[in-house]
């Protein structure tokens, strides 16, 4: 059992221990690292940046607390950008345990709007965000495909009441807002496969401009839809969130998490290389034994 064999069969719990230690160290020490911007994220930022005041952006937040880590930075950055530019936001949460979390996120962002901020050189005054005027949160309904189809007729069909139980007709922002044709665009931030329904049943059937913010694992899956023009932008996982925060000049969790990401990736790459070194050494050794053995 020489050094190479041991390299090949390290018990996986050493890998876990080593990864934990390194991530904690990277988390505690804080220094900034540069972020590279991809065109798929920039197209979403410029689309919203050029929207006139009072237009309505529809953000279906179809994720649950599990994928909150990757997707909250995107939601925070986009919703704050909209509210700062006085763009109205309509929100649904079609993942079964997402509404509570979405409601809490909206309250956090509304609090951070009470402080004046300057982004990319433009200074924005503090602003009190009002439910029903600046945003409407419609809450959750099961079976996303049916809800998306129904909202094509009218938001009121699946959502007679909003999340807080007030009838939708009594909300000022919803007057004249019936279905997808009255929206500037939809940005589906999702950790579930509701995004497939948004692309084939939503955008496919009603043709509104759609961009998506998804978890890292399913980013690759949606590139064909970017290629065929069914969506105009993709934000992929924590990196997508960090790039959007960089573009919006609004640093948040995503940017300072990138440091831990870097160290973790280095650990994994190191272990993979070690495994392969061990592998090649044993292969060469076995070949040599076969030659001698013959």
């Amino acid at each position: 059992m020489n050094i190479f064999d041991r390299l090949m069969q390290i018990d996986r719990r050493w890998v876990f221990l080593f990864l934990v230690i390194l991530c904690v160290i990277a988390y505690v020490a804080d220094f900034q690292i540069p972020i590279l911007i991809e065109p798929e994220v920039e197209s979403i930022f410029t689309f919203i940046d050029t929207l006139p005041k009072g237009s309505v952006v529809f953000i279906p937040m179809d994720y649950d607390p599990g994928s909150m880590a990757e997707l909250h930075p995107m939601t925070y950055a986009i919703v704050e950008q909209c509210w700062r530019k006085e763009i109205k936001v309509l929100i649904t949460a079609l993942s079964q345990n997402g509404p509570g979390m979405a409601d809490q996120a909206l309250r956090d962002i509304a609090d951070s709007m009470l402080v004046p901020k300057t982004y990319n050189g433009v200074s924005y005054p503090a602003r009190e965000v009002v439910n029903g005027v600046d945003y409407v949160f419609l809450g959750y309904k099961p079976y996303p495909a049916l809800v998306i189809l129904a909202m094509g007729q009218d938001f009121r069909l699946p959502f007679p009441l909003d999340y807080y139980g007030t009838p939708v007709d009594s909300l000022p922002m919803m007057r004249g807002l019936h279905n997808y044709n009255d929206l500037a665009c939809a940005i589906n931030i999702s950790g579930t496969n509701a995004t497939d329904y948004w692309i084939s049943y939503g955008q496919g059937r009603f043709g509104f401009p759609l961009a998506i913010g998804v978890t890292g694992v399913s980013t690759a899956q949606y590139y064909p839809y970017l290629g065929s023009g069914q969506i105009f932008g993709i934000m992929g996982g924590m990196l997508g969130g960090a790039e959007y925060e960089e573009l919006a000049d609004n640093p948040g969790n995503a940017k300072d998490a990138m440091r831990v990401q870097l160290f973790a990736h280095l650990v994994i790459i190191a272990f993979v290389i070690m495994g392969n070194i061990g592998f090649f050494a044993t292969v060469r050794k076995r070949k040599r034994q076969q030659r001698e053995g013959r």
Partner: protein, 271 residues
């Protein structure tokens, strides 16, 4: 009778819905929405069967003292607690007798389990279950610091429901999910071995993409790493996705047609 009628039903509904897609007329849309409502309602009813199966499996585990049977009490107790939290909410700020009600309800459940699981004298647990049930009913009726809400969605905002979701469900959910960070490392270490051409291609493209945002490799590779991983995601990955999406599309249509035409009967048990 048991086989023919289900197969005929699948055929009728399947064929109807295939052609409904091509009929935009108002009545066809109305029937489509109505049928989808059927699926939701059947789903809601089926949940009761599911909960019953969960209850039976855990009672069985307790009865036969299978490995880890003590923990089944926790599952059933947690299930009942969440149902109680989900149907009640306080009128004012005090709790009144709520927690006593909750405890007696849980005790009723434990006694019922004891009665179902115990081999010998179930009389004692049945009496105790009745006693606790009476206590729970009295508190439920008399105490007006809190109330039951079956029609309005008020309990969703109630403290206990919100708290047990935010702090218990989210904590375990997010932690289970984050175990993937470790498992992806151990899987990469265990499986990324350059055994043959295919495994080597898998390994190389993974390594390139994993170091795409690495600023320290920038002086060596410049922005080629980011551009290469972008190319890997947009060209070979796109080709792979497209082929699989189309293949899966045909596979889905083939399987659905086989089920509708009755060629494939596995789903109804006919092997």
């Amino acid at each position: 009778m048991k086989q023919q009628i289900p197969r005929i039903l699948v055929f009728i509904f399947g064929i109807f819905l295939i052609f409904q897609f091509f009929v935009p007329h108002e009545s066809s849309e109305w029937v489509f929405e109505y049928l989808l409502d059927w699926n939701i309602i059947i789903g809601v009813f089926a949940l009761a069967v599911g909960i019953w199966s969960l209850f039976k499996v855990h009672v069985e585990k307790i009865r036969t003292h299978k490995v880890g049977w003590q923990y089944s009490y926790i599952t059933l107790g947690a299930l009942l607690s969440m149902l109680i939290f989900g149907f009640t909410s306080r009128n004012g700020d005090e709790w009144g007798w709520f927690f006593v009600f909750w405890l007696s309800a849980v005790m009723v459940l434990l006694m019922i389990i004891q009665a179902m699981a115990a081999k010998g004298n179930t009389l004692m647990s049945v009496i105790l279950a009745g006693a606790f049930a009476v206590i729970a009913v009295i508190i439920g009726a008399a105490d007006n610091a809190w109330a039951f809400h079956f029609q309005t969605a008020e309990p969703l905002q109630a403290t206990m429901f919100r708290r047990s979701f935010d702090f218990v469900l989210i904590s375990i959910h997010a932690t289970m999910f984050s175990l993937l960070a470790f498992f992806i490392a151990s899987a990469a270490y265990r499986a990324f071995r350059a055994r043959n051409v295919m495994a080597t291609l898998l390994l190389l493209s993974a390594l390139i993409v994993m170091s795409r945002f690495n600023p320290y490799l920038e002086p060596i590779f410049g922005e080629y790493l980011a551009r290469t991983s972008n190319w890997l995601m947009n060209v070979p990955n796109l080709a792979a996705q497209r082929a699989i999406v189309m293949g899966v599309g045909l596979g889905i249509v083939a399987t659905a047609l086989k089920v509708i035409l009755g060629i494939e009967r596995g789903y109804m048990g006919k092997g």
